[in-house]
């Protein structure tokens, strides 16, 4: 059994640790946290990393609202936080646009909102924003594929996207397309799964059927990747290589495995919300980010989207999340 009892959650979710004087206890703060339903590994890791981060600080009480994919419910959660008068809110909205208004309301009520991952449509709705780089992910994946196939303009490239209606999916696809354009390739086949194993398997099975010969596949999401790999296995295909997305520990182990079709994955940090919690604490306590010269927490933090390959996988495995 390979998915052995996991090391404790915080180990899996934290990278190199720099202790600063900011970690000294300050004023007691209550932070409200709301995120979509943890119905897949990455989102689960988001929540557990945020909780683990809050545990580290005795001056932080994290009020976690149940994860939900219903914007109506998520709005009511934020309304609840406003009503309770929490000191800060960390919000990973199911739909950035739909939660903007209630975030604005919170800001107007004097509660700083830290926006994570899916961006609000108004700059006034968040005190600070922590973003992964979705477009950058697409670019990284596309660039990697270009490096491998650049000399073959007829190469067949397939894309297995995530939930199509999310802007982050659209950004990833755009980045991917732009990067491929640069080396004269294009996306020959594209399906969209739903971030679930089952949909990943189903969509990939159909995709493989449709394309008898493929050179490279980019799969947006390593959670659905379990299903993607199963479908590839079921079809007995291996003429291509697969690039993953998000960076699950499982995918990294596949990269280590010589036999596997998986050659690389693009990190999309599952520690974003943990960063959000840290920033929320600093904002609430009126502190500043210690490694910056400027005063105050920055408006936007965009995290780096590195490519993990066999060469550097050892380095990234500790921060890989379990699907």
């Amino acid at each position: 059994v390979s998915n052995e009892p996991r090391e404790s959650e915080d180990d899996a979710a934290s990278g190199p640790v720099a202790v600063t004087e900011n970690d000294e206890p300050g004023d007691e703060v209550v932070i409200g946290f709301s995120a979509p339903a943890a119905d897949h590994g990455w989102m689960g890791a988001i929540t557990s990393a945020a909780k683990a981060e809050a545990e580290k600080y005795e001056d932080v009480t994290l009020q976690v609202a149940e994860g939900t994919n219903d914007v109506n419910v998520q709005i009511s959660q934020i309304e609840g936080f406003i009503d309770q008068g929490v000191d800060a809110i960390v919000l990973l909205p199911f739909d950035g646009a739909a939660l903007t208004d209630v975030a604005l309301e919170a800001m107007e009520a004097g509660i700083p909102v830290i926006n994570v991952d899916r961006e609000f449509t108004s700059p006034f709705a968040a005190r600070a924003t922590v973003l992964g780089d979705n477009y950058g992910m697409g670019v990284s994946a596309g660039t990697y594929i270009c490096e491998q196939l650049g000399d073959n303009p007829d190469a067949v490239v397939a894309e297995i996207a995530g939930i199509d209606s999310l802007p982050l999916t659209q950004d990833r696809s755009q980045g991917f397309k732009d990067a491929l354009d640069d080396c004269g390739l294009d996306v020959d086949a594209r399906v969209a799964a739903e971030f679930t194993v089952e949909s990943g398997e189903e969509q990939t099975a159909n995709l493989l059927s449709a394309e008898p010969q493929i050179d490279a596949i980019w799969n947006h999401d390593d959670d659905q990747g379990v299903g993607v790999l199963a479908a590839i296995e079921n079809a007995g295909r291996d003429e291509f290589f697969v690039v993953g997305g998000a960076g699950s520990a499982n995918m990294m182990r596949e990269i280590q495995d010589e036999e596997s079709v998986v050659d690389a994955t693009v990190i999309y940090p599952s520690t974003q919300a943990a960063d959000g919690v840290k920033l929320a604490r600093l904002v609430a306590q009126n502190k500043t980010v210690s490694d910056l010269a400027s005063i105050g927490v920055p408006r936007t933090v965009q995290l780096y989207a590195p490519v993990v390959t066999a060469d550097n996988v050892e380095e990234f495995l500790p921060i890989g999340f379990e699907s």
Partner: protein, 325 residues
Amino acid sequence: MSQRSALMGPALRMGGLVLALVLLVVVGVATAGERFWSTGNLITVLSLAAVTGVVSIGMTFVITSGGIDLSVGAVVGLASVWASTLSTQYAAEDFGWWVIPLTALAVGLVAGLINGLLVAYGKMPAFMATLAMLAAARGLAEIIAGRRTQIVTVEPFFDVFQSRPLGVPAIVWIFVVVAAAGWFLLNRTTFGRRTVAVGGNPEASRLAGIKIKRHTLYLYGLAGLTAGIGAVILLARTTAGSSTHGTLLELDVIAAVVVGGTLLAGGRGTITGTVLGVLIFSTLTNVFVLNNLDSSVQAIAKGAIIVGAVLLQQWFAARERVTAT
């Protein structure tokens, strides 16, 4: 005596629901104290209940008539998308904010009428006709929205629907008004009487001269209309239209209506019960959030509440039959 029992029955049944709600409130106060029992939080509970509540009123009519509408969630999504397209918003800028709600209502109504046509004139089982509409409306919504969330920027729209007359959000007022109108319609008008009759015995109703096809058409139209109102509320709350709005709403709505005491087989419907059913589920969600509890546990609690409520109703119904003499 028989008159008394005719009044006692429903009263008893309502009693069970009120009891359940009070119990939840007690748990809420006990576990979350002031955080639960504050005006702000109670308004939050009501605001959350508004969409489900409004749509449940329409659904109460459909279920009372012996039908079912699985498409309401998808229609909410479609109406929200249609009412927030760029062209709708341009029109709203030009002509007035009312273009947006009007579009949502019209889309809901038309979708409902199509359901009604299929059920009444196409003689399709309601379950299948509205299942087909569920699939089609979601698909259409995605195509119209191009799978993007459409942000509404028509300020006058929000001036109206995000206002708080007497300190209570407009959307809560909408819920209250729709529920009151629904109660009146079901209990005090010929439309309501026909609905109960059609649900109780369609063939007898037809032979008594009730135009059951036309009435069925209206009923699904009404359900669609309330879905349109639900879309307006969601637009006001989220400031955006999205094809994912209302996902799985139909299940919540049906659960609330039936838990409220409306017979799934038709022939008996109660708006008061529906409102209580909606409030029970939305209070449940609230209590869970306030206590930092897992949504998985909440799902199990929800299942248990459905089972408990329906079994309790059965028990009341049996008792009632005993005392009915």
